[in-house]
Symmetry: C2
Subunit: 468 residues, 2 copies
């Protein structure tokens, strides 16, 4: 297949960045200018720039133009030696997690551990009204079970939302769950039995690792690029050499690294797994928290129902709601059965109130309102980190979500800093939580959900602890 013109242009710019000809912060030609220089259509250049944004190479500054972004420059293609070590490992991983749990929500401390839109942006008046209406309705829906797959109006609205991620779901493809965690739990229960092997990008969401341990699953962690996610060549190698049961990925505003897997790569991954008859569990919980453009879902490239798409309103409306969903493709029957056996149904008032919020356009209005805040918060925290953390600290520069992934110069050990910070009533997620191997010990994940003077102080304190 011939490489399309926009892809050629994008690749040329990538080469310039990698060679150092274009450096972080450099302005690149405007769309109009490059279109003129290369004698190609404006839309072709636009398409090329979109792809570069997706891959996190450039960023747009409104009313100014396109700029080269800060990027990590890590080698991610593993050596042959590395590949040999990629065998299924049992998960044993408890200590820090329970420490984390016990401390995570001290009211007096500052937590930089929770992700998504901060609770103080919760649309409480409107939601309170919807909840009361749902409870007092003569239809008694709120009192009864709203059995799986869940409330019809809610599933219709979720199907509508999916369009922006390139999904063409019918309400009948969707099952309502108690948050995204339950969606992933159901997918794993439906697909795996103890001893099975699951492949995931590394680093990854630590609650997932803990869950895999509880379900007695084995794990192969594939190194992922901080800009584009999992290495497909390595994935291919692993699939060919091990009995892989399922693959798990967070392709959009990845937890913890914040990258967006490029669309072409999503398509290739979906195709590869479909060919190998290995289901993909896709966690797209941060997808709606895009800063400029909604990235597509892997599921949008899935033609045979091989992708189990999981998401939730926990990061966008409020975590306390516990309303999430799964579109389990061809595994629908096993998942819905498991959901009924797990807890019969998801709470009815919550399903009804969220459905009304969505149906009346409240969700989009709310997102517009909170997104501006999130963009500001992420930039402010990023600047503050660069200012106060040790020299040569590297910070991710996400185009959505609320996380910053911070790489400190070695041999700084963030578990030590975690302990020191706890003593000052500050909580963050140390890097080693995100892998089963002794990796990322110089990293930390910080949440920029909230930004105020107290948080700014906290970053300064953390910077001081890191420099000690």
């Amino acid at each position: 297949m011939r490489t399309p013109r926009y892809e050629q242009i994008a690749e040329k710019i990538v080469t310039l960045i990698h060679s150092g000809a274009l450096k972080e912060g450099d302005k690149i030609p405007s769309i109009r200018q490059l279109s003129h220089e290369l004698s190609v259509g404006v839309n072709t250049v636009k398409e090329a720039y979109w792809r570069l944004e997706d891959r996190n190479y450039i960023t747009v500054v409104p009313q100014s133009g396109y700029y080269v972004k800060n990027r990590f420059n890590e080698r991610v293609e593993p050596s042959e030696q590395d590949l040999k070590q990629l065998d299924p490992k049992k998960v044993t991983f408890c200590r820090v997690y329970s420490m984390f749990r016990d401390n995570a929500f001290d009211k007096n401390g500052i937590s930089l551990a929770l992700s998504g839109v901060a609770p103080d942006l919760w649309p409480k008046k409107r939601f309170g009204r919807y909840l009361m209406d749902a409870a007092s309705d003569n239809d008694l829906l709120a009192a009864e079970y709203l059995l799986p797959p869940g409330y019809t109006l809610l599933r219709q609205q979720i199907a509508r939302l999916g369009l922006s991620a390139g999904l063409t779901l019918s309400p009948d493809d969707i099952i309502v769950t108690n948050g995204c965690q339950e969606a992933i739990f159901l997918a794993l229960m439906a697909l795996c039995k103890p001893g099975d092997t699951i492949v995931l990008e590394s680093p990854t969401y630590f609650n997932l690792l803990q869950l895999l341990q509880a379900l007695n699953l084995k794990v192969i962690e594939i190194p992922s690029s901080p800009e584009e996610g999992i290495s497909l060549d390595t994935l291919k190698f692993v699939i060919e050499n091990h009995p892989v049961k399922v693959v798990f990925s967070i392709p959009n505003f990845n937890n913890p690294r914040g990258f967006v897997m490029p669309s072409w790569k999503k398509k290739e991954m979906a195709w590869l797994l479909e060919q190998s008859k290995i289901p993909l569990i896709e966690d797209d919980i941060y997808g709606d928290l895009y800063f400029h453009r909604r990235p597509d879902a892997c599921k949008s490239h899935d033609e045979t129902g091989n992708v189990l798409y999981c998401s939730s309103f926990s990061k966008t409306i409020a975590p306390g709601l516990r309303i999430g969903w799964i579109a389990p493709g061809k595994f629908y029957e096993s998942v819905i059965e498991m959901k009924m056996l797990l807890n019969i149904s998801t709470a009815s008032v919550n399903q009804i109130a969220v459905a009304c919020f969505l149906a009346k356009g409240g969700y989009e209005r709310h997102l517009r309102k909170v997104k501006g805040k999130l963009i500001e918060n992420v930039q402010s925290m990023r600047n503050e980190i660069l200012l106060h953390f040790p020299d040569s600290t590297r910070v991710s520069n996400p185009s959505g979500g609320s996380f910053l992934w911070v790489e400190l110069p070695e041999p700084i050990d963030t578990e030590q800093i975690y302990q020191d910070a706890l003593a000052e009533n500050i909580l963050f997620s140390p890097g080693h939580l995100f892998s089963l191997q002794n990796k990322f010990t110089n990293c930390m994940r910080l949440s920029a959900s909230t930004w105020n003077l107290k948080v700014a102080d906290t970053i300064q304190i953390l910077g001081r602890l890191c420099k000690r």
Copy 2:
């Protein structure tokens, strides 16, 4: 140990009933009269009569006196031949359940399948107000996770309620769940791995059987008396001869049979399992729906934390709430860990609203109001069944809950009747659902949650179908 005097009196009356000297409907001496005749204290006779009520031998009719109840007279102690057949069996049991699921909630039909207080008794105005208050509160509790073990005020209130069941729980013993089903799910996940054997009384709750199948557990079903539950001798035999991992029981207003296991038997079972180091999962979801006196929980006889006590407000307030709990005793750590990994937490507004309802005394007021209705409904449906069903049909006569267990003369097959009833838009639970063996095929479980002319007609139609 000497048999106490009240127990001797109770046993004498049981002998009279078994011999036929006292028949169903016979009035027995008043407490004062018997106390005089036997020259024992009034309280001793009272205690004896309470025990007979517990064991379902007698019933009190207010302003009239004590009467002998209708009882099944089944042989439940299995023969040696039977005992040999009590080996762990794999669960394979799908067809009817999914049929059941697909049809259970047709709005136009009449469902006699759902148990507990009917949704039309849901305290909607009051609950709507609590929900709105919770959502609009400046504390933002509703927006945030109320992480396991769950909202403190709710756990305090649940601990308070437990007193009536003889439980002395601290709020710290309790973990909030999405209903009782999730509580049981968590207990099983924490205790068992695939291939393990679980023992239960037969017949039992069919959702449980289905869950055991999904978790790849093996099952030994122990015949239970329709009046007193599981046979302890058989339980002892099974424990001694098989690698039993856990025992499951619904001792109060048993699903489906409605019996209450006598208090002495609960104590013995708790002791036996403690000695054998086999945990007991106790499902007490119907306990608060007592007609006259709250039966104690098995857990009230548990001194070492060997009983995992599960319950919920689904049957008493409304199923759509999805608020239940587990008091997992010494298995607390594994259960709370599993709850976090399953779905992080239970929805916050729901936890808060239920806590307020309980704290303000709304629960007790509500129960008083609905209980009278439930007693009436159960009696009305029972009378209607005895009137319209084939001669020699036997119907349970529960002292709490909302179920009637109906035994039709053989060879009537209730699955056939189930099909015929569905054609008339009537739903009930056929008996064979409640066992893995080909048993109870002449039985059905009917819910008396609602009683009105339409339901009365439905009973007549069912009677006609049974007579065909």
